[in-house]
């Protein structure tokens, strides 16, 4: 394999990576209850939600304590695993990308369309036409961004010191991976790839790509407490003063606020910024053809050197939660203003020399300060609860490069039986729906969820079914 072939492979894998991405807001749900609400947690304060809105550490949860849900990998039993053997006739990069994007933990139905995969290139002395056919839908029209912050392991504890002193959350160690990918394609190149418009002389076709991957760990401390908003106006007169007191107390708005400070310790980071330009004058090809491709890339690297060279950053999490009667409004932001700084960074530049048909690379700087971004995420949600039996919630989640809009509801029509459903506008702009049931009777309970999604390269809407086992099931809203 020559160097250019290797470069081409790397580029192809990069393309696939960009195409697939790991959009946070479109993350796969393995819990059947969440599956049934199309990804909405229905106000349940999960770990990720508490990081985005630390006020949730102090606000009492509506979930009964002690229930444990175990998602069952029913989809893995009959999953088709794509071949990784490149010499195999069935080897298909898109199938691999689809698999990685949508690990078939849940039972899948309605497989995405088989990509036709056929493309046509027309070459003439002064013309180049690329007809990607079906694959042209893979070319993003408005740039492409994906990625997120993934918490792999957390060691910490929550200390509830009561209403007077609030709640502390101490994270001693959190292992993280951050990937942040973006791709911008010039209008002219988009027309070439999406509309099969001919490449002509005298015009430049280009794209900018950036990929950041960084790992490390964090330590963090969050604090949350309730902010008193007035007091009950009921006075201790009359026989029913206690009933009136609780009635007034129930109608009193309650506000929680939370803030967290997180220290990032970066272990390694790679930040590759690439610009590709294609241009030429007529004739483009032939012996006097001038069509050339320029590629320039800056590779920024931050890594430990012994015990020195840690990446470091401060991240601030802020959140608030307001409950009034049956309503709840929450808003939070995580990693506000965070940017990793590496004091012993290295910058290497790669330029393709079209005359020599080879890459030139040089170390531009060594032991210099470089900075890599940590994506800020935010969330806004509104929830309405009717007793302990009905929950309706709407939310907006913004992650690295994408935003998801959700609406979901759950109704316990019997204390032991729930129906639920939801709809989400995914980062592709497609509406996906989910529905499911929950059973809390006997020694174990079950959640069953079914939803649509488009976690495949083609963006086809397909379905999945998930099942979770619930240990220590607790009926809702009554005996």
């Amino acid at each position: 394999m020559n160097g250019l072939h290797l470069l081409g492979r790397c580029f192809a894998i990069g393309v696939a990576w960009f195409v697939v991405g790991v959009p946070v807001a479109a993350a796969q749900d393995i819990d059947a209850r969440t599956l049934g609400t199309a990804g909405s947690p229905l106000g349940r304060p999960t770990g990720d939600l508490r990081r985005v809105n630390p006020a949730l550490y102090a606000a009492p949860t509506f979930e009964p304590p002690g229930e444990a849900s175990i998602p069952l990998p029913i989809g893995l039993l009959n999953a088709d695993f794509p071949t990784l053997e490149s010499s195999d006739d069935d080897f298909d990069l898109i199938a691999i990308a689809d698999f990685l994007w949508n690990i078939p933990w849940n039972l899948q139905f309605g497989a995405p369309e088989e990509p036709s995969g056929d493309v046509t290139i027309r070459i003439a002395l002064d013309e180049l036409v690329i007809d990607l056919r079906d694959a042209k839908t893979l070319v993003p029209t408005e740039g492409f961004a994906a990625g997120g912050r993934h918490s792999l392991m957390t060691v910490g504890n929550t200390f509830d010191l009561g209403a007077r002193y609030g709640t502390f959350r101490l994270d001693l160690f959190e292992l993280f991976v951050i990937d942040d990918l973006s791709l911008e394609i010039d209008d002219a190149l988009q027309r070439v790839l999406r509309d099969a418009e001919p490449v002509v002389g005298g015009r430049t076709y280009g794209l900018d790509a950036r990929g950041v991957l960084q790992t490390g760990f964090t330590m963090g401390l969050a604090y949350a407490r309730e902010i008193p908003l007035g007091r009950s106006s009921a006075r201790a007169t009359g026989d029913d003063w206690l009933d009136r007191y609780w009635e007034t107390e129930r109608d009193r708005p309650r506000l929680w606020v939370g803030a967290g400070l997180r220290r990032y310790f970066g272990v390694s980071a790679v930040d590759l910024r690439t610009r590709v330009d294609m241009k030429g004058q007529d004739p483009l090809f032939g012996n006097d053809g001038s069509f050339t491709t320029g590629l320039s890339a800056d590779l920024l690297q931050g890594a430990l050197d012994g015990i020195e060279g840690w990446g470091r950053a401060w991240g601030i999490d802020l959140g608030t939660l307001l409950r009034w009667r049956a309503w709840e409004v929450g808003a939070g932001v995580a990693d506000l203003g965070a940017e990793m700084t590496w004091d012993r960074g290295r910058i290497q530049r790669y330029d393709f020399d079209s005359e020599r048909d080879a890459f030139a690379n040089e170390v531009v700087a060594e032991d210099v300060r470089i900075e890599t971004p940590i994506p800020t995420t935010w969330r806004i949600d509104v929830t309405h609860r009717t007793g302990a039996t009905r929950t309706v919630t709407a939310s907006i989640d913004n992650g690295a490069g994408d935003t998801a809009y959700r609406l979901a509801a759950e109704e316990w029509i019997r204390p032991w039986f729930a129906v639920r459903g939801g709809v989400v506008r995914d980062p592709r702009g497609l509406f996906q729906i989910g529905t499911g049931i929950g059973l809390r009777k006997g020694p174990v309970g079950f959640d069953l969820g079914i939803r649509t999604h488009a976690r495949n390269v083609r963006g086809n809407r397909v379905g999945e079914l998930g099942l979770s086992l619930v240990l220590n099931p607790i009926p809702r809203g009554g005996p």
Binding site: I94, D118, T120, R122, V276
Partner: protein
């Protein structure tokens, strides 16, 4: 060689986007007028006036010419099949006869002299004061392998013959036009 990166990136994108076939369509005719080396790319030959009954063989319509393919395509593809589509037009002014075209394709210039480089003959009738056309598609057969290279060579010859039975002293005069010469190659992605 300076376009190798273009090919590498282009084919990499195609390989990433596609698990199927890559079809290359090459407008060979456009390359034959490269840098003004040839005549009008369509007007290929104004033929002479052969005496009656005499066959003139091996007239070069297109002498040995190289045309461009995608650099390094052999790194990333396995060429499966291919065909050549042609259209030849004769604007004949005098006499009647026949033109027989022989298209040769080879990976190298020397290869053009190999008998295996010849595609099936193309016959074109020549009629008095008439325009006649021959068009079609021929399978490249084993010649398709030459397209797994950065470039290929082409030579097109023609034989001209006046029909027997014409009046002695009759002759042919006119112009042969090569209107279309496209190669279509289907290559299987062999990138990974």
């Amino acid at each position: 060689m300076k376009r190798t990166l273009t090919s590498a990136l282009l084919l990499a994108v195609l390989a990433a986007c596609s698990g199927g076939d890559v079809t290359l369509e090459i407008d060979v005719l456009s390359f034959l007028n490269d840098a003004g080396a040839g005549p009008d790319p369509n007007a290929t030959y104004a033929y002479p006036v052969p005496p009656t009954g005499i066959v003139i063989q091996g007239i070069d319509l297109i002498d040995d010419r190289e045309f461009q393919l995608l650099d390094s395509i052999d790194d990333v593809t396995v060429v499966d099949e291919g065909e050549l589509t042609y259209r030849v037009e004769a604007v004949n002014r005098e006499g009647a006869g026949r033109a027989t075209l022989k298209i040769r394709l080879a990976a190298t210039r020397e290869g053009l002299d190999d008998g295996a480089s010849i595609l099936p003959d193309i016959d074109l009738p020549l009629l008095p004061d008439s325009t006649t056309t021959a068009a079609g598609t021929v399978d490249l057969g084993s010649l398709v392998e030459i397209f797994a290279n950065d470039s290929a060579w082409v030579r097109i010859e023609t034989d001209l013959r006046v029909d027997p039975g014409d009046v002695v002293g009759d002759s042919l005069a006119g112009t042969l036009w090569l209107r279309r010469l496209d190669v279509r190659v289907v290559a299987d992605e062999d990138f990974f």
